[in-house]
Amino acid sequence: MSEGLDAWQLIASGDATLISIVRLSLTVTLAAVAVAAVVGLPLGALLALTRFPGRSTLVVLVNGFMGLPPVVVGLTVYLLLSRSGPLGEFGLLFTPAAMVIAQALLVVPIIAALTRQTIEDLWREYRDELTAMGVGPTGRVATLLWDSRFSLITALLAGFGRAAGEVGAVMIVGGNIEGFTRTMTTTIALETSKGDLPLAMGLGAILIGLILAINAAAWGLRLWSEQRVA
C-alpha cells in the first residue's frame, strides 16, 4: 500500500533524483516549445500571408505533420545525430540538446499550422485597414502575430502538451540515461516495464499535475491581459 505513495513521498522529501528528473523534463520541453515558437510562429504567418505555387501542398503537409509519430521523428533525429550521421561530429546524440531538437521538430508543425489558421482569419479582417495605412510585409506579420497573441497562446499550449506527453522521441535520442537524459515519461516507461507500477503511476500524476498547472497559468495570463487590452 505504501508503494502507491512513493513518488509523492520522494517529492515531499525533496528527493534529488526525482527533482532532477522533473527539472530535466520541464527544461527540455520548454526549450523545445521556445525553439518551435521562434520557427513556427513566423512560418505560420508567412504561410497565411503569401501566395505561391505549391502553397496548398505545403499547408496540407504542415497540417499533416501535426500527427507525426514521435518514434519516427526520434529515429530520424537519431540517424542525423549518430556518429556516422551528417551531424554526428557535434556529438549531440544522447544529450538533452538532442531531445530538445527532436521535440521541437514535433512541435513546429502544430504551432505553424494553428498560427497559419489564426493569422489567415485575422488578415481577412485587417487587410483593408493595414493596406490603407501602408503597412509593409514585415509590419503585417508583426502586427498580426501581436494582435492574435491570445489565440496563439493556445497554439503554444497545444505544442507544449504534445512535447510534455511524448516518450518515443526523447527515449530514442536521449537514451534514458539515469541522471542525464532520464525524463518523467521515460522513467514511467522504464518503471512500468520493471513492474514498479505505483512509482510509474505517481510520476504520471505529477506529470499531469504540471501540465495542468502550466495551462492554468497561461489561462490566468490570458484573462489578465485580455482585461487590460482586448
Partner: protein
C-alpha cells in the same frame, strides 16, 4: 522632403470599371476630384459608393480604365487616408492605435507621444487614451479611426459613411472633425446616404446609381436643378433602385 513635393490631386478616374465575376460594381466611370470643398458621394445601397472609394484609395485596382493621382498611376500609397465603414480597431489601447498610424506614416518615435495626444484631443478622446480600443462604443471607434487616418496628414481623406450607425450627437461630433480637416486643406471625399449631411458638408455631389455616375454637380445645382430623373427622385425621398 521628396514626399512633400508629390501631390495626389487631382485624382482622376478615366472610364474606370470594377467587377468581380459577373457582378459589376463600377461601370465606366469618369470623374475628377480636385482641391476644394468636400465631395460627397451619394447613392442608394449597392450603387458602388464603397467600390468608388476603394478604387480612389488604391485598395482595389480597376478591372478597366485608369486611376491617376496627381498624374501618377502607381497605386503605391501617396498622401491618402481612408476611414473604412467598419474601422478595425487593433487589439491595443486607443493611444496605441493612433501611435501605430503615426509610426506607419513615418512619424519619428520621439514625436509620437505628443502627436498622439494632439490627435486624440482633436477627436475628443484624450480621456480614453489608455482604454482598450475594442471596448469603445461605435461612435468612439469611428473617432479613433479618424484620428488614426489624420495621423497620415492626408492630402485626400476618403470616408465611407462615417456616421451611418451613429446617433445625432456623435454624428455632429464626427462632422465637426471632418469640417475642421477640410478647412485646414485636406480634400474630403465622403460617401453618405443622408441628404441632410450632404447639405451640411458638400461642395459638390457625386451621385451614383447601379455603378454608374449619374450626376456630378455642385451641391446647389444638385438639389435645385437635378438633371436626372433618378437624382430628382432620390432627393424627394422616393426609392431609387
Amino acid at each position: 522632403m521628396m514626399r512633400a513635393a508629390l501631390t495626389d490631386l487631382p485624382l482622376i478616374l478615366d472610364r474606370v470599371s470594377l467587377s468581380a465575376g459577373a457582378t459589376t460594381m463600377l461601370d465606366r466611370l469618369d470623374l475628377a476630384i480636385t482641391p476644394g470643398a468636400p465631395t460627397l458621394v451619394l447613392g442608394p445601397n449597392g450603387a458602388g459608393k464603397t467600390s468608388l472609394l476603394r478604387v480612389c484609395m488604391g485598395l482595389a485596382a480597376p478591372s478597366a480604365g485608369t486611376v491617376s493621382w496627381g498624374g501618377r498611376t502607381d497605386r503605391g500609397l501617396g498622401r491618402r487616408a481612408m476611414l473604412l465603414q467598419k474601422p478595425v480597431m487593433l487589439r491595443r489601447s486607443v493611444a496605441a492605435n493612433v501611435a501605430y498610424g503615426l509610426a506607419q506614416a513615418g512619424c519619428p518615435r520621439h514625436r509620437r507621444a505628443a502627436r498622439t495626444e494632439e490627435l486624440l484631443d482633436r477627436v475628443g478622446l484624450l480621456g480614453l487614451a489608455a482604454r482598450p480600443a475594442r471596448r469603445l462604443s461605435g461612435g468612439e471607434q469611428q473617432r479613433v479611426a479618424l484620428a488614426r487616418a489624420l495621423a497620415r496628414e492626408p492630402e485626400i481623406l476618403l470616408l465611407d459613411e462615417p456616421t451611418a450607425s451613429l446617433d445625432p450627437a456623435a454624428t455632429r461630433h464626427v462632422e465637426e472633425i471632418i469640417l475642421m480637416a477640410s478647412q485646414s486643406g485636406t480634400k474630403i471625399v465622403m460617401a453618405s446616404h443622408d441628404l441632410g449631411q450632404v447639405r451640411r458638408l458638400a461642395g459638390d455631389v457625386v451621385f451614383l446609381v447601379r455603378g454608374r455616375l449619374c450626376e456630378h454637380a455642385s451641391v446647389g445645382d444638385f438639389f435645385d436643378r437635378p438633371s436626372s430623373a433618378e437624382a430628382a427622385a432620390f432627393i424627394h425621398g422616393e426609392l431609387v433602385l
